[in-house]
Amino acid sequence: MSMLISLFSAACVLAGVFFFIAGTLGLLRFGDTLSRVHALTKADNLGLGLIALGLLPLVDGIADALKLVVIWALVFLGGTTAAQLVALAVRREQDPPP
């Protein structure tokens, strides 16, 4: 059983790291701001979610598990809002309001 849990955790964390790397590559390689924001937020949110999911079975109690979930939710909220703000700034730069 514990073997299975370790395997599950390792798989989730590794997949999470993969998405983080993919998101970072997108940030560095994509040409325009909107695609970069897209790559970063999509991939990073998934990556962090997978890492949090992988760590969940390893924590000691329900309180620590809850903290992990809250951290994930807060980064999700912050990242999403930041992406929206960057996108708005890009739009304002492209066609400024009259």
């Binding site: 809250v70 807060l74 909220l77 912050g78 999403t80 809002t81 929206q84 703000l85 708005l88």
Partner: protein, 312 residues
């Protein structure tokens, strides 16, 4: 060996991010480099078994400092033409001097005495009377309380200094520039959703500092962010800098700290000494006042001197 596998990339990344900060061609790039340096430094602090410092570096060193640099950079950096660099001779000389200092410092760090001197044992031996479980908090609040008292006074004077940068005619107005309200934008959404959660988290971080990593500075900084966010979103106006409640909130920490310290002359062994049995209660009292003060002072420092009209 596995430790080195983790530490070596971290150390290289830290230096690399620092170098990228200096080499960045645009001011904005330099700020991004600095943010990365701060975040990697946070991880290094975790590796150095200093979770309390890691939290402080993340919240204050990396986040709050970057916010104020980015804010000022966005206000002057884009409009001003980049200044000409100093003459080449000065730069070469600076490079030689800095490299020399770095080499000397590295040499000094590698020739530190073995075994290293440590105050860990005396701190642990004397932690019981304080009733605290976190040795770093015990140092901050009991063993080296004078440092923390002076530091809390520094925050008050920093706010004084920043406020006094305001032009004469703006004295008495609310801190910071006027932000445009966007009632339905993503920032307004975040400013409505986040503070209730963030305030709980800030208070929790300050409270848990007695026994676990955390404390008044880290928690207070989170609270400051939760206060500044609705200002920036234009949802609420900050209080005027003449508002006595704001001034009292900024000064409460050092005042309570100083009063408890002076009380030590009467009921304990001297200045900043706690009477036996009441140490934990008094420390909690000081920490509560300090959390409030750190939050208010940091919010005012982030906002800057008054630039807008006060509330009608």
């Amino acid at each position: 060996m596995t430790a080195l596998l983790l530490d070596l990339p971290l150390a290289l990344g830290l230096f690399g991010a620092g170098a990228a900060t200096l080499l960045a061609r645009s001011l904005f790039g330099a700020v991004l480099g600095f943010i990365s340096t701060g975040l990697i430094a946070t991880l290094v602090w975790v590796r150095l078994e200093a979770p309390d410092v890691a939290l402080t570096e993340a919240v204050i060193g990396a986040a709050a400092t970057s916010v104020i640099i980015l804010y000022v950079a966005s206000r002057i950096g884009n409009r001003a033409t980049p200044p000409a660099p100093p003459p080449i001779a000065q730069r070469v000389l600076a490079g030689i001097l800095s490299a020399l200092l770095a080499v000397l410092l590295a040499h000094a760090l590698f020739s530190l005495p073995e075994p290293a001197p440590s105050l860990a044992a005396p701190v642990l031996d004397n932690i019981a009377p304080t009733g605290l479980g976190n040795p770093v908090t015990a140092v901050l609040m009991a063993h080296r309380a004078i440092d923390t008292l002076l530091e809390s006074a520094v925050l008050v004077f920093a706010v004084f200094a920043i406020w006094s940068m305001a032009p004469e005619r703006r004295w008495g107005r609310a801190p910071g520039p006027a932000f445009m309200a966007e009632a339905h934008g993503p920032l307004a959404f975040l400013a409505k959703v986040l503070p209730p959660i963030g305030i709980v988290i800030g208070v929790y971080i300050a409270w848990v500092g007695a026994d676990a990593p955390g404390g008044k500075f880290q928690g207070g900084a989170v609270l400051a962010a939760m206060w500044v966010l609705p200002w920036i979103a234009g949802l609420v106006a900050p209080p005027s800098i003449s508002d006595m409640r704001l001034r009292l909130a900024i000064a409460a920490g050092p005042l309570v700290f100083l009063m408890v310290g002076l009380m030590g002359f009467a009921v304990a062994e001297g200045f900043l000494a706690y009477p036996p049995g009441y140490a934990k209660t008094l420390i909690l009292l000081i920490e509560t006042a300090m959390t409030l003060s750190v939050a208010a002072a940091m919010a005012c420092m982030i906002a800057g001197p008054p630039e807008r009209r006060a509330r009608p």
